[in-house]
Symmetry: C2
DNA sequence: CAGTGGTCTAGACCACTCC
DNA sequence: GAGTGGTCTAGACCACTGT
């Protein structure tokens, strides 16, 4: 049975997050000392530090020896779940997500796909081409590649299903790690038809490789967004550097 | 005096990183148990867990209750310093960074600049326009805005200086937190002239806001890359979600 | 100098995975 | 049931910031 309760440090983090976004400490203001927070919440300093590490990673507070933590920003931070699922992301913004599956193909994995999904020669993959909308306006074309056993599930879904991530989770497929590569590409004939733009128009591209809790790749996907519809934001600190810049290959 | 020694958990993390990139555990292989590592390195389990948290954030290993950690990837991860400085980034890739300052302007801060740099009305800012090259080929146009006291330093630098970050650090200006926004934009006349492209061509845009250890904003910058020269990568996990997707505003 | 966060220890109990 | 990582405690010492 999964542990339904939430860890104490997550509750503390949530309360502090709330306090920060309510402006209880002000932008550029200071948080109470760790020892004070430990007393307030009735937990040990270690637990408070775990909570603060979460806020630190989200870029909400600084931390350095000698002074109290300073509030960096009050912006709401997206959950991992919202960064993985287009549907949940859109709903969290109050937008109406939509879309349709344009094409589904099953065939033997090509070399690149085998490498990305860590498959053996001859293994099958399932390719899904979808167009996705916000308030009925097309904003993105998604090309996903799944290993066979996941593809079976996706292929069996209602073609009108808005989300694939949610039903996949209901089948026990969990996404826990995602590696993203963001750059720019140009619309091909499919993109142009689906996004109502011209062939050769520039699109913002996000390529993703997702793995499950065991470290097994479960999805490799390429999303192409119409310019002006989305931007990606990342917080980076000397404590945790998640972002990298790469030369295009 | 600054602490010249490195924390134990950072040394352990560095050794584990080395082992992973050497393939000592294989891709998809398993790390030794925390207790075993603690014994190997002669430290407590808590210290080992701090080290592993670093690798977790870099997306090098998974972690879940009940089983040993699994190696996710062996790719070298960029340091924070390399993500902040174009010069250091280029050198770490074995490329020769270059560039020149095209224009420097000092004037009163406009409302957007005041907000981003948290300045008061009437405060001055320093704007620097630079073109940056890799092996003498222009790849990026950088427009930076600095508050007055930092601008003084930048304006006083050798116009031929390749890096601004390094001399700024020598003047005691430290960057510790950066918030990035990545999207797409189109070349204006300046961009076109400096990057040798046409007005209206699509460019990959990165906007950055950097703060120092006290949480004070020290730089607000907009970089525009020629397509096909760079891509940005981010690792995201349910343990630490650094990436967000935003609607363009 | 007092107060703060950074590092480290030694132990405990628990939820979970896998055999 | 044995082994593993997740959570939490209670303490210690130190480096650093500010007054």
């Amino acid at each position: 049975m999964a542990d339904g309760r939430q860890a104490m440090y997550r509750k503390v983090a949530a309360e502090l997050r709330q306090g920060i976004s309510d402006g209880a400490y002000g932008s550029g203001g200071r948080l109470p000392a760790e020892s004070a927070l430990a007393q307030t919440y009735g937990v040990s300093r270690g637990t408070i530090r775990q909570a603060l590490a979460l806020l630190r990673a989200d870029g909400l507070v600084t931390s350095r020896r000698g002074t109290r933590r300073v509030v960096l920003g009050t912006a709401r931070v997206q959950t991992f779940s919202e960064t993985v699922s287009f549907t949940r992301w859109a709903r969290s913004l109050g937008e109406e997500p939509g879309g349709r599956v344009v094409d589904v193909v099953r065939r033997a994995a090509e070399p690149v796909e085998r490498e990305k999904l860590r498959l053996a020669e001859g293994d099958e993959v399932c390719l899904v081409l979808r167009v996705r909308t916000l308030s009925a306006v097309p904003v993105m074309v998604e090309r996903s590649v799944y290993p066979r056993h996941i593809g079976e599930i996706v292929a069996g879904l209602d073609p009108a299903a808005v989300s694939h991530t949610v039903p996949l989770e209901e089948h026990g497929v969990r996404f826990t790690d995602v590696h993203h590569t963001i750059d720019l590409t140009y619309a091909d004939a499919d993109d142009a038809a689906l996004l109502d733009c011209r062939v050769g128009d520039a699109l913002l591209r996000e390529r993703r490789r997702s793995t499950d809790p065991t470290g097994t790749p479960v999805e490799w996907s390429e999303d192409r967004y119409l310019p002006g519809t989305v931007a990606f934001t990342v917080h980076n600190s000397s404590a945790a550097a998640a972002l990298s810049r790469r030369t295009a290959s």
